[in-house]
Symmetry: C2
Subunit: 236 residues, 2 copies
């Protein structure tokens, strides 16, 4: 009998923000897989590292993304990974793929899911996404009542960003990184800088919360987010 | 010294989808508070019930919402709850408020937060939201790459719903409940019924996944969601 492929949401960074379910499946899985840059450590693995020190030794499959293609998935990388993981499943071994945040919220797991769900049993375990983690550490409710909440990737071009921000009550701008200056400009034009809150590496040891004006545009990491709520603090 | 007010995201329904952190704080808190309908059981309390059977007896504060005001918060109810919880905090007792899903994703915790954050230490612990839980059980990635993801409350009027759905790549329609017929009509007019996936009570024992045409409009619960992705299955 084939093993099961688990897409495990491991949460936004604080190891304690993993779910009880994901932790149980992680501890039980004989094979774990996780994304990593071309060289260097995997963020996903580092999040669960505190849980891997005891217990039986696991097989670890590292899915390395070539730097040049870091923005979008490299089909060949996922083809190869799906083949390798499929071998473990066919041999009856469960495989847990570690997914930062939630597997289906802008996560790369969907590329394995798309390749493997028709052939194998796949279970997706939802996790705490960066979206709600950023709101929590900022002390900024995302949306209430009948607010429309829009999640906007910062790589969109300036006109698209402006249109999306103009038409929404509550906005989360994700993947800010090197797009910070553009985003700042758009928020400024819309008169929303005072309503915007910035955080990077939410819930991690390296977390920083800054006003927009205090952010240095050339030092913004990929894992950063800006939340904007036009109604502001009127939560009561 | 005053106690700390915790807004604990307890996840979408499956008790195992609570985080390790929320579970630790829950077990430690001498006082827990949770919303409930005017009569009957609290969903939030039922989610964590498996974790409350052992350990020291806790003080429980039930925040009952009058039925007529179930759609939007009743200010007087939250005023009273804030006063009662404030009494526990002033006496040095930590208070854990149980929040279905995530506290800041359309959660009622923000009304306590708005009343209490200036006077007390408040920590928000993010949880797995219904948004990612629904995507997981549907096997439907929410958004990828530079998709804009829009969360739309179903109580919006028909024209607003249509405009929001027409302008988005990926949409989560929340709080469907008695608005199902209207939402179905809008999706039909936009030619999106074939792209829509429906789930109610995701991750709970009562979970149901149905095609839109199989849903009976008069039996749709508040905890239901419709996900639409215009690109469909092109995840690879």
């Amino acid at each position: 009998m084939s093993g099961t492929l688990y897409g495990l949401g491991i949460g936004p960074g604080d190891p304690e923000l993993i779910t009880v379910k994901a932790l149980r499946l992680l501890e039980r899985a004989p094979v774990i897989a996780y994304p990593a840059p071309e060289k260097g450590e995997s963020l996903a693995r580092s999040i669960v590292a505190p849980y891997l020190s005891g217990g039986a030794k696991k097989t670890e499959v590292v899915i390395r993304m070539p730097l040049v293609e870091a923005r979008f998935p490299a089909a060949a990388v996922y083809d190869r990974a799906a083949e390798e993981l499929g071998g473990h499943l066919e041999a009856g071994r469960d495989v847990a793929v570690l997914c930062e945040g939630d597997p289906f919220f802008y996560g790369s797991f969907m590329y394995l899911f798309g390749r493997m769900a028709a052939r194998f049993t796949v279970e997706v375990v939802p996790g705490v996404s960066s979206l709600t983690a950023c709101a929590a550490v900022l002390g900024a409710p995302l949306a209430a009542r009948n607010d429309v909440l829009t999640v906007v990737p910062a790589p969109l071009d300036e006109a698209a960003l402006k249109a999306r921000l103009a038409g929404a009550e509550a906005v989360a701008i994700i993947k800010v990184g090197r797009h910070f200056a553009k985003v700042h400009r758009v928020l400024d034009e819309l008169g929303l800088v005072g309503r915007a809150r910035y955080v990077e590496h939410a819930t991690m040891a390296s977390q920083r919360i800054l006003t927009l004006d205090a952010v240095s545009a050339d030092g913004v990491p990929y894992f950063s987010m800006i939340l904007v709520h036009k109604r502001g603090e009127a939560w009561t």
